[in-house]
Symmetry: C2
Subunit: 331 residues, 2 copies
């Protein structure tokens, strides 16, 4: 099998038995994470058009903005796409109405109680996946009747679970309690890591950090460049007294670190964080005062590329890693 | 291929092309980590006799104690075994002399500068592997001429790197810079995780937490039972101002947490830690005042078993996961 320059059609042959692809009607079991300030319709359409699942991140959008992005993606692709909906979103009813009215095919819920809206979406034939970081919420999501689980380890960027369980530990812990489609998230940016996830019983992967640096991402170029130039140890889980969040180390991170080392209270940390810090850093490119949410996979990413190239290189590497593995065990 | 009750000989067929097995003259690419207070000659001999590599943990042994353990293991197995030598050990010259004099076949060095002793051991035909948690020390170890690298992610028990890089992120980062045999460590206790590590280009795995709970481990039964009963989120990386260490949550952990949240200084933390806390907890079974070092894999372990059963179940599961993976990609 030729490894180079394979296209979506060739790659899809490799995954034609994949349960997640069948569930979502996609060709490649790669989900682009919904990421505030980075994942609008352009990125989502590019991922969906390459055979993965593109996601509009509604967490940083006013209701009208989400409507506009959905209108755009319907023009930009005929393939399935999704919306990521953090359940703490203040104007959540407006978002839910939009999603149902616009017949968005897939919703990913996160950061809240999955029992609240799962059946409401399913009644409208919308597939629901829920992001969890521990068994307790996995069990809640299963009870709520979700179609798939996204299990996200502590290496992920942005908000994280309190248990700090890593992806390598979390996937077997979740696979032991359910047979439904399972997506591994956190730390994944290479094809060998995707193979590792599937070896542990996941049906696909969700990647955030890698797609933040995609050409089509709406992250500011300053932020993309800083990710490209970062190395291991350049992110850290902070603000554990609020909600743990993985940050890229910059001036704002340093203020947080010092405050926490001086035993800052919840109120002091909230005041330091203030409002609009993530937008300032990730969308407006203020690398000094901005909050830069990114995952450990940043250390594995060295180039800004179109989303289609990110996915094709990922799958080429997946197939290469798979063939290496087979060869090791062939007499 | 029958999956149940396979023995070392059958399992070794599955790994007959494995580079790590060839390098170390073992049958199964599983290394038992050297763990203070848990890994004496009994555990090491049980692992080596099953076809893996058993390791005597010298970090908690006086020079005479190490000599005794080496004398015992020579009686208990004819297979290769190793000694783990933390390079900050106060009486390190005595340990090195013992290792060379007794012709210990393999040394694993950790927690220090690999350039110091690698060539000294190699001159005496002793194979050297070095434990690293980042690229910087991997490059130093490569320069020193080690035979293999053990890359340990933040999910590991006990002392950890400052970067907090997880195993899933670390293995590709290290594999990108070297082709020498690479062992994945941190968080691994199941066969599907071992397959994941090898899918990412590792040649084998090192497991600590799983072997702490082995029947032959010298960990106190109280400690073993507490590990068996623990779940996700029951360990946490603490004492980052000293050397980061992953602890099982107990009363002592709680004292550390409170001290750190109240901005304790390095001196205050040292005073709180005191001396002999790890022995008290892990060896003497004081679950209240003792320091209990363990990895996130504790959540995956539910039973005290002989080391041979741990290894055979691991490899049975590895083969089953491998066959599942193949089946997914077979038309």
């Amino acid at each position: 099998m030729a490894l180079h320059n394979m296209n979506t059609q060739e790659h899809s042959l490799f995954f034609k038995q994949n349960r997640l692809c069948n569930l979502l009607d996609i060709q490649i079991p790669v989900i682009q994470a919904g990421m505030i300030w980075c994942s609008g319709w352009k990125l989502a359409a590019a991922v969906s058009n390459t055979g993965g699942l593109g996601i509009i991140g509604a967490g940083s959008m006013y209701p009208d903005v989400l409507k506009t992005h959905i209108a755009h993606i319907k023009q930009a692709t005929t393939k399935p796409y999704g919306v990521n909906l953090p359940l703490f979103y203040p104007d959540i009813d407006a978002h839910i109405e939009t999603i149902i009215h616009e017949k968005v095919p897939i919703v990913i819920t996160s950061a809240g109680n999955p029992t609240l809206y799962t059946q409401k979406f399913k009644k409208h034939d919308i597939k629901v996946m829920h992001v969890i970081a521990n068994r307790k919420f996995a069990l809640k999501a299963l009870e709520a009747g979700v179609d798939a689980l996204i299990a996200e380890g502590v290496e992920a960027g942005g908000h994280n679970g309190f248990e700090e369980t890593t992806t390598l530990t979390l996937i077997p812990l979740i696979r032991q309690i359910t047979d439904i489609p399972l997506i591994a998230a956190g730390g994944i940016a290479t094809g060998s890591q995707m193979l590792a996830a599937i070896a542990m019983g996941a049906d696909g992967v969700q990647m955030g950090t890698a797609f933040v640096t995609a050409e089509e991402s709406s992250a500011h170029d300053n932020f993309k460049q800083m990710i490209i130039n970062s190395a291991e140890g350049d992110t850290e889980l902070r603000l554990k007294k609020l909600i743990p969040v993985r940050l890229l180390k910059n001036h704002f991170y340093e203020l947080v670190r010092q405050a926490e080392e001086n035993a800052a209270s919840v109120e002091e940390l909230k005041a330091l964080l203030g409002r609009g810090r993530a937008k300032k850093g990730m969308f407006e490119g203020d690398l000094i005062e901005g909050e830069l949410e990114i995952g450990q996979a940043a250390a594995l990413i060295n180039e800004i590329k179109p989303a289609s190239i990110i996915i094709h290189q990922l799958i080429n590497e997946y197939i290469k890693s798979y063939q290496n593995l087979i060869q090791q065990h062939t007499n």
